[in-house]
Structures are given as C-alpha cells and as structure tokens.
Symmetry: C2
Subunit: 187 residues, 2 copies
Amino acid sequence: MLPGVGAKGAQRMVYRLLARDRDAGIRLASLLEACMREVGECENCRTYCETKRCPICTDVRRDTSALCVVEGPSDLLAIERSAGYKGRYFVLHGHLSPLDRVGPEDLAIPKMLDDINEREVREVILATSSTAEGEATAWYIARALINAPHEVRVSRIAQGIPLGGELEYTDDGTISHALMGRTEMRS
Amino acid sequence: MLPGVGAKGAQRMVYRLLARDRDAGIRLASLLEACMREVGECENCRTYCETKRCPICTDVRRDTSALCVVEGPSDLLAIERSAGYKGRYFVLHGHLSPLDRVGPEDLAIPKMLDDINEREVREVILATSSTAEGEATAWYIARALINAPHEVRVSRIAQGIPLGGELEYTDDGTISHALMGRTEMRS
C-alpha cells in the first residue's frame, strides 16, 4: 500500500519497534494520526500546511511576480532545497491524464489562471516532471496563458533533468541548473 | 530510525497517505499504537503474541519433543512459511554478543535449558543465523546441552543458507532444504 514497503519490510519495521522502542512506535502513531487529521492545503498555493496559508505564501521576502508550477508538494520541497528560486509556487497535486479522467479542473488550473491574472504574475515557470503527462500539463498551461490580459513570460525548466525522471528524486544541483537554464515557451 | 526508511522515503509515504487516503493513515496509526501497547511475548517460547501463550505453543498437533531455536520472531515466521517443521520454537530475541554485553541471560538461555530438561525435549534444532554471532550462539547452546540429564539430539540447520546471510530474507525452498539437511552437532 505504501510506496516502497512490502510485507517483509513492514514486518521488519514493526518488529524493530516492538523489540527496541515501543514508546517511539506510540509517538509515531500519534504523529501520524495528527498529521492525517490536521494537515490541510494552503488556500493560495495548495501545498500541504497546517495553517490557512503556507509559510512561503506569507513570506514577504518572496518574489510575488514569479510563480513556479509543480505537480506535488514534494517537488516544491525539492526545489526549495536547491535554493535557486525565490518566487512563489502553485501545486497541481497531479498532472493532466485523460485516461484517468484527470482534467484541468481537478488540478485547479482555472483557479491558478485567475490568480495569475489578478495578481499580475509576470513569469510562470512550469516545473512539472519531464514525463509525457508532465510535458502535456506544461503545454496546456502555456497555451492557456497566451490569452492572459497582461504580458506573462512562460518558461519550462531545462531538460537537464533526465528524461522520464521524476523531479522529486533529482539531486539539488541538477534542479538548480535546470531552473537557471529555463527556456521560454512558445506554442 | 526504521530499517530501510530514509527521510525521502518517509516523506513519500506520508504524502501518499495525505493525497490518497487519510482514513487509511488514521487506521494505520491506530493499529500501530494498539500493536505497540498490546503485543507481548509468549511466556513459553517468547515469540510476539497478544495472549499469554502463542498459537503454536497451544497447538496440540505440534510435536513437543522437538524445539527449534531462532534469533527472532521473524525467523520463526520464515520457518513456518517453509512448512517443513512441525515442532515448537524458542525465540532468543538476539544472539550472544560480548561486545554489546549480550550474555546468555539476556537471551533467556538458562530458562530455555530448564524447559528442555523439564519437558524432556529430545531434539533441539539450532536455527540461528549463519553469521559469526549466530554460529557462536548455536555452539554455546550445543555445549550447554551436553550436560542435559536426558539424551538430547542437537542439530544445526544445514549451511544451504548463504554464508553471512540472515534467515529472515532466505527463500522458503532454501529454508526447507536447510531444515531437512540438518547435521548433528558434536562439540
């Protein structure tokens, strides 16, 4: 059920806790429950947080004219770790996938486009994964932004990231370079 | 902290639960807590169980004249899965390790020797891992059984298990063969 955990791995974890530290197991259980109940989504960028707005959206030092669009909260953290970006984010929580019936509304893309127009965001960096679905999602957003009432520069992070790879598992240096080498998108 | 789980893996698991099934996360937390609080050790064989005695020790169809000594509850389960053994078990919860100050008393070996004498166990199968510590533990128990008041056949599971390997991760067929090919131990 959980990624990377099979029956033997799960058994090994529980036995380790039973043998060495039951209190840690109880703390883990209580943290997990609190996490499931209390973690919500930032009303602005949709990343996971326990407040109405996340620390990045409320940070006045962040550049509000740039918006980086990612597929998931873990991609946001990966970019933050690379420390090469000082703008804001928008988390899609997925990518366009017609076969799974995931359309623009499921990813809150219309809300994001409204926000971009209202706040007059000047640059949108599309940092979806370099998979087929990630590319399609980036192109969809780029096309939608052609009709924006003000000028928006739309860029795609560079293909320094290995083709078919997922952003979450890319090393920080590669992410940093991919952000710097971003190329303007024209459709 | 948990075996095989790093920071990225843990984050990936929590994000999967947050995104797809928070109820499952809450159920997992509650099961984990119940497990930490309620799972004890069988007063007879010391494996994990939620009752005073485990299902194997209370199963009248098991051969009480044979005792299989293992390092941990997961080794017991691995042997049960191989379905080649119908006797009982004793779980040491570790192996002799003088450097870590783990002596025979920490593994309840004196209690086990008393049980073997009281219940007139006729065969003891030493199924500790084929690591240096597992071998030393097996030899220690074999030597201690020389002085048993009744005759005890002491055997060691065959070295069909890869040298240096841990029992828990051996495939069922190899475990089955190792049990069948067990050789008598003389010290």
